[in-house]
Symmetry: C2
Subunit: 119 residues, 2 copies
DNA sequence: TCTACATCTCAAAACGTATTGAGATATTGG
DNA sequence: CCAATATCTCAATACGTTTTGAGATGTAGA
């Protein structure tokens, strides 16, 4: 992850519909969701959704695969990891206690039934 | 962290100069940096820097305090934690192995002299 | 092949954001 | 108080992005 990629990713996430798309796909897991399912979940026209999906694909945050008539989109988890790492790299002058809450929040995020850390 | 705050934060990070400012401040630690120091480090006019610092302040990612004639800016680490948690909340349908790289990357980020995970 | 379905492409209009330079404000030391 | 320093405000210009609707493309089943 370099600066150019990070800027592209943050720009992709800085839009209401695209942020919702990514969060739906992050929650959906590696199996992903069809474009039509996303259009209903987010509440945008298919034309507009297509525009946003293309932006997200260009940024590398999601990927597409065809399955019959549908196109299935899924989150690219390594891109999300890379973005987090880029943002927090070499943080806090070696004072880990400053960043501990971030680590705790992320560690808890894979546990939808348990207590999720809401920082 | 709600959607409105997250959108504001991502929009703030989706700009070359602002992303550099945040990364400088994240690296600088809680002591922060003066506006003039940032202007030199980033290479923008003081007028333009002021505009971007205000955007970042509005988004809650940085905060300001006066110290004599200087104004010292510093990263708001809980806002960064909250943003990461918002993005990754309830991820991957309970398959922690999908998100493990993100946790590892973030855990390693407080260690500037050791091996930083470059995912 | 024909039809229905799922998704994408394109151009135009509407909208918001970044940069610039001149000038204003606030603080310190003499 | 005055001058120097540090930072901020404002308005104009330039630029890029989002939305919309009509139509095109690609796929599956009868």
């Amino acid at each position: 992850m370099d600066e150019r990629q990070a800027l592209s990713a943050f720009a992709a996430l800085a839009q209401e519909h695209r942020l919702r798309i990514v969060r739906h796909l992050v929650t959906a897991g590696p199996d992903g969701l069809a474009a039509g399912v996303l259009a209903n979940a987010i509440g945008v026209s298919t034309s507009n959704l297509s525009f946003h999906l293309k932006e997200l694909d260009r940024s590398g945050l999601i990927e597409a695969r065809r399955d019959g008539r549908s196109i299935i989109y899924s989150a690219v988890y390594p891109a999300l990891s890379g973005l987090i790492e880029f943002l927090m790299r070499d943080c806090c002058q070696g004072r880990p206690e400053v960043c501990a809450p971030a680590v705790a929040a992320l560690s808890a995020c894979c546990n939808p039934t348990g207590e999720t850390a809401h920082v």
